[in-house]
Subunit: 255 residues, 2 copies
């Protein structure tokens, strides 16, 4: 038995989210259907986490176990020959049998793309178009309050989540001539957390909230104090990092 | 009666081409339906030329006549509030009553995007992915033979076209780290002409044809000698230029 780790990019536009659901087109459903053809038995994949409908990925990670006697790197080509054109496997290789995409993801990076420029119909599924000007300096100031370890209850869309403490290591806002990219790197993110942070930062950029309000919103642990949930089409799961020692199969590890 | 000129961008992916056809979703059909709501009478629009299924536009031009007593510039907002999200009107204004989008377009620019990089599912409808390396210097050399006035029979997909002479003023190939953009500026282009030129240039880039073969292919006036028709998703109608004197309404012209 081999445990295989894959990195995958997908366009979330035409999927009903990531997670398998009967009768729905989902990323997980498409990948499992392709793997079943390759491995000749039903295969369940485990991802680093779900993405919602319309959310994209450049670096989603999943793993699965296979009895097929094939080098782990060969799944890239095998899967891409079977998968629809909106999913593309970038990398595959055998990992440690205890590697787990979800439990061992130690760092995740998400990006959110927002444009202040003229609407471009070619980018409508890949960028959120905001019609009013935004004060980028104020938004950057607001983002400094999100850095570090906080209880993110105010920025969480899922009431059932028990532990709402997360750590954000990096929060950056790039501005390339009105094409903004929010970069968030952390040890994990709650459901809708990035989109609620972006929705709140937009309010700061519009002058409807002050940068220092972020501090209070975090302290109050009340979802109603944060902004709306920004639209999904600007959001990208960029990368998931794992501990080095789990990324090699058992046989490669020196005694 | 006012003659109105509009510049429009559209994503060609979900249209059955530009030209109105009964029962099909077309760019012309959508724009005419929106104009009928605004003007309360059926309106026929005239474009600078058709684009084929899957082909995009950043600067398609069309005109129409309207009896509505409304400033020509106001059609931008009126149309965009009615049009689907894959069409966006960039500009509208009243022009000379003899202005004609098709007959007076003196210069057209098309671009074709081709990528030599890793497949990106987010760009699959907007760039053509070529899997083998291409010799960009050889392709650029080949493009010099296309410049000037030629009979483009070998690069024409429409047998019914009578006059196949066209002039290309500019033929350029940008290479931004493997993201190639072909730029063609000319006094007009035959059906599939850009895509056949690109298909032929790809063969040059692969070493299957030599740059100087382009000269012979033009001289022989035989479609079978040129390459295949490159896929539509990389093609963009970028802009159409008109004579200055036709771009102003009659009332603005000094006596």
């Amino acid at each position: 038995m081999k445990r295989i780790k894959c990195t995958v990019a997908y366009d979330g536009t035409l999927f009903n989210g990531y997670q398998r659901q009967p009768g729905q087109r989902t990323v997980q459903g498409e990948i499992e259907a392709a793997l079943e053809k390759i491995c000749k038995v039903p295969i369940t994949i485990h991802s680093s986490g779900r993405t919602d409908t319309g959310v994209h990925a450049y670096g989603q990670v999943f793993h699965f176990d296979s009895e097929v006697n094939m080098d782990g790197t060969r799944y890239v080509r095998a899967l891409n020959s079977m998968l629809p054109e909106d999913i593309y496997v970038l990398d595959s290789h055998e990992v440690h049998p205890e590697f787990h995409s979800r439990y061992h993801g130690k760092i995740k990076e998400y990006r959110y793309k927002l444009s202040l420029n003229t609407y471009n119909p070619m980018k409508r599924h890949y960028v959120y178009y905001h019609r009013r000007p935004l004060d980028v300096a104020k938004m950057r100031e607001a983002m400094t309050y999100l850095l570090g370890t906080h209880d993110f209850t105010s920025f969480c869309g899922n009431l059932d989540e028990i532990n709402k403490e997360r750590t954000i290591y990096r929060a950056e806002l790039l501005d390339e001539e009105g094409e903004l990219t929010f970069i968030f790197v952390g040890n994990g993110f709650l459901r809708y957390m990035i989109r609620i942070m972006v929705g709140t930062l937009i309010q700061v950029g519009e002058g409807r909230k002050q940068p220092e309000d972020i501090k209070k919103i975090l302290e109050m642990r009340d979802r109603r104090l944060a902004g709306h949930t920004a639209k999904p089409q600007g959001l990208y799961l960029q990368r998931v990092d794992y501990p080095e020692e789990l990324l090699k199969p058992l046989t490669d590890i020196e005694e």
